[in-house]
Symmetry: C2
């Protein structure tokens, strides 16, 4: 059971540094998650974000509104479907997202180095296998794609066939 505890401590410290930075900006962990996913997958829709974060529309709306109001996130009408709000980061948003991510990148690359060269793929496989089975294909696609706006939508359509 040591892995369970390691995972707890690892995650605790993984989010610890960004948390303190966020506090200076008046944001919290929830803002970080939104910022991160919009950063990595610009053009993402609100519904995609809801799926990823596993939270309610109302919870997301609260933080998303703040990020938009504070000029970190832009919403633009979907090209095909004008109901959609495709999400992007502004320059200001990019700066913060990158700053937060820097801490995490550093920690991860140090940890990967200490896990050894073949350890990297083992870690990757382990983490993916920890994800709920039904979400694994989506997570796989998500992390492989640099930009993944419509891919997500296509998958949604498939599932309802």
């Amino acid at each position: 059971m040591a892995i369970a505890e390691l995972l707890f401590f690892a995650y605790r410290d993984f989010i610890g540094e960004p948390d303190s930075v966020l506090q200076e900006y008046g944001f919290g962990r929830a803002h970080h998650r939104v910022l991160h996913f919009v950063w990595r997958h610009p053009g993402m829709r609100v519904a995609d974000l809801l799926d990823i974060l596993n939270i309610t529309k109302q919870s997301l709306a609260r933080v998303l509104k703040q990020l938009v109001d504070d000029g970190l996130v832009l919403q633009e009408e979907g090209a095909n479907d004008r109901r959609e709000r495709r999400l992007h980061l502004t320059e200001k948003g990019l700066v913060l997202a990158d700053k937060l991510s820097a801490f995490q990148r550093k920690r991860i690359s140090r940890a990967l180095a200490e896990a050894g060269p073949e350890g990297c793929s083992a870690v990757r496989q382990f983490l993916l296998s920890m994800v709920a089975e039904e979400d694994q294909p989506r997570v796989r696609e998500l992390i492989e794609a640099k930009v993944a706006p419509d891919m997500w939508r296509a998958r949604e359509v498939e599932r309802h066939d």
Copy 2:
């Protein structure tokens, strides 16, 4: 940066199943953490738990009191220092802790299997390296010990030399 996202999804689903079970008992994630650490390290003091969880005494008190009142956790006076409350699980507490842990054990062992035989130690090393450097020795001791009441105390004393 894919690892950051994998870690997010892995952790999200790692705590997902126990969360639903806890809800039936009227408990939350905070209770789970207390239950887990007291389970793995019976005889732990309140101060140790505070150190591990990185939360305030008042936050801990709220959930700990509920667990004691509901008969899942026992507090007994320290043998040497009667100010201490050494924490233990009751039979009822053991049952729930084990039930919650079962989901996580299953998920972890499946994921480790898919990471391969040498993958296991790589994962372990990776997670340990993700922990804040100053906490790594303590975490190492904690996860290696089956029971770790006074070890923690000894370390505290050392540090103030």
